[in-house]
């Protein structure tokens, strides 16, 4: 555990000191300001718009952190051979995988906390400016849970990014494949519902869609924007299952990453 924590620490430090991260956070801050201006253009559902925009900013900025920084940090280890500095110490390859993941999780977590703070401030201000348009049952608890689940979905994307970086030789390929997987993950549930439940769908296509929905993560399940915006109640048991699904998916992806990385030749 010590080695994993050591590696997480240097990965985190390397990440948070990078100017790209600062740039992403500044853009996200500007988006939060824009959120305030934009919501004033609406006559109804102001809180819904503010929450929607705010949570979307958290997700998008979090994704930008993973795509532009996380993948870069991981790929640089292979491209510039900084991995030699790590693996020449008494650190096993599985510890490297977990340490890197933990460092990235901390980095994305820090970004999400800062973004969450901006978003909360923007939503609070929007509600203060037009309290009559706030959703009746709006709950800050659900709002916070929604940010938490956004973070969990970002962790799934991080684990996938690490997996693809470990099995490919180029950061561009890893970035492309991770982005494609994210896109599929966002839409897989919709496609499954559209085709699988229909009678006219052929069995082969149905099997294919079912298989794809098992392989790719269902990222839509982590999107609680609607519930947060309208103040809709959420079943705690549903949340628990979604969280378990998220942790299990991350665990399985990390296991695959360790399996392939153990066999990788670091030439």
């Amino acid at each position: 555990m010590d080695n994993i924590w050591l590696l997480a620490k240097i990965t985190y430090k390397e990440g948070v000191r990078n100017r790209i991260l600062h740039g992403i956070l500044i853009v996200a801050f500007l988006f939060s300001l824009f959120d305030l201006v934009f919501t004033q253009m609406f006559a109804h559902d102001i809180s819904k718009v503010a929450v929607d925009l705010g949570l979307s900013t958290v997700s998008l900025a979090g994704l930008a952190v993973i795509f532009f920084m996380g993948i870069n940090l991981l790929a640089k280890d292979f491209e510039r051979r900084t991995i030699y500095m790590v693996l020449s110490r008494p650190i096993a390859r599985w510890q490297y995988v977990l340490g890197k993941f933990m460092g990235l999780a901390l980095m994305v977590g820090t970004a999400v906390c800062i973004l969450g703070f901006f978003t909360t401030a923007a939503v609070k201000t929007a509600m203060w400016m037009a309290p009559e348009h706030a959703a009746q049952n709006f709950s800050w608890k659900i709002f916070a849970v929604s940010i938490g689940f956004s973070y969990l979905s970002l962790m799934i994307v991080t684990a996938l990014a690490q997996f693809f970086t470990s099995i490919t030789t180029s950061s561009y390929i890893a970035l492309l494949v991770t982005a494609c997987t994210y896109f599929i993950g966002q839409n897989v549930e919709l496609v499954r519902k559209t085709f699988v439940d229909q009678q006219e769908t052929g069995w082969a296509f149905r099997v294919l869609i079912e298989a794809v929905s098992w392989i790719f993560p269902n990222l839509q399940a982590f999107d609680l924007k609607r519930a947060a915006g309208y103040g809709l109640p959420i079943e705690p048991l549903t949340l628990l299952w979604v969280a378990l699904y998220g942790f299990a998916y991350i665990g399985i992806i990390l296991l695959f990453t360790v399996f392939f990385f153990q066999r990788r030749e670091l030439t």
């Binding site: 010590d2 050591l6 430090k13 051979r81 030699y84 500095m85 693996l87 650190i91 096993a92 030439t267």
Partner: protein, 253 residues
């Protein structure tokens, strides 16, 4: 033996059918407390052997053992210090942080680590820049930081891949002195270099490698008679080998 290499072979697949031999049934033993220089032209397989010793790549056949333990066991690296050929570090960390990482990974306690880190940075003339981010370092400073990282936990065995590359004459002198000091302290040093004068100055024994095969292994004074020094002997051995095996592809690694 501190390092035992037995029939170590590394093949790389190039395309579907072609297989290139980077290291060919290498046998090599390095004793405790000796400074061993590993020589060879570019692409001879020196770095490949070092990467096999550190488990960065896996052998096609044969074994490599360090202190009697298989090189693939990560715990064996607790007693090993390694300097890569062109060391790269995380740009936004400082030399102090990198050394803290290296020391903690080798289970050094914080107080002792801080003392060792300061002393080593002082010796390698990096004290003034220890809190500076590594991306602001010159090539020579990065090389010296790499050396400091290799030595921070006072390893029994040092594996250095071209430790003199990128250093000015003063830096080379500093590294050579460090290697001589390590020998005095009973440490084992295994290093590759192209700079024959440095090899002559610090090594107890040398190994000359070409096309992944060991052409010579022994003391400087045991070199073939009439060759007139290391440089002559080196060139002759390589030329003879090239003559006998001309046309084969070299593999870098």
């Amino acid at each position: 033996m501190t390092i035992e290499i037995c029939k170590l072979t590394k093949k790389y697949r190039r395309g579907l059918r072609r297989i290139c031999l980077a290291v060919d049934a290498l046998d090599l033993d390095i004793k405790k407390g000796e400074v061993f220089g590993f020589l060879g032209p570019n692409g001879a397989g020196k770095s490949t052997v070092i990467k096999l010793l550190l488990d960065f790549i896996r052998p096609s056949s044969g074994t490599a053992r360090i202190n009697g333990t298989a090189a693939g066991d990560p715990t064996v690296r607790r007693v090993v210090g390694y300097l890569p050929e062109n060391p790269f570090f995380y740009d936004h960390l400082t030399a102090e942080e990198i050394l803290a990482f290296g020391g903690r990974a080798a289970r050094m306690d914080k107080k002792h680590l801080s003392k060792c880190s300061d002393a080593l940075l002082e010796r390698l003339k990096l004290s003034h820049a220890k809190k500076q981010r590594l991306r602001t370092y010159s090539k020579g400073m990065v090389q010296r930081t790499g050396l400091a990282l290799a030595l921070i936990h006072d390893p029994e065995i040092c594996i250095l891949d071209e430790p003199m590359s990128g250093l000015d004459p003063l830096g080379r002198r500093m590294v050579a002195d460090l290697i001589i000091d390590m020998r005095k302290n009973g440490k084992t040093v295994f290093f590759s270099s192209h700079i024959l004068s440095d090899i002559e100055r610090v090594c107890d024994r040398i190994g000359i490698l070409n096309r992944g095969r060991l052409l010579y292994c022994g003391g400087m004074k045991d070199l073939p008679a009439g060759t007139g020094g290391l440089e002559e002997a080196f060139v002759k051995l390589i030329e003879n080998d090239e003559g006998a095996n001309g046309g084969q592809h070299l593999v870098t690694g």
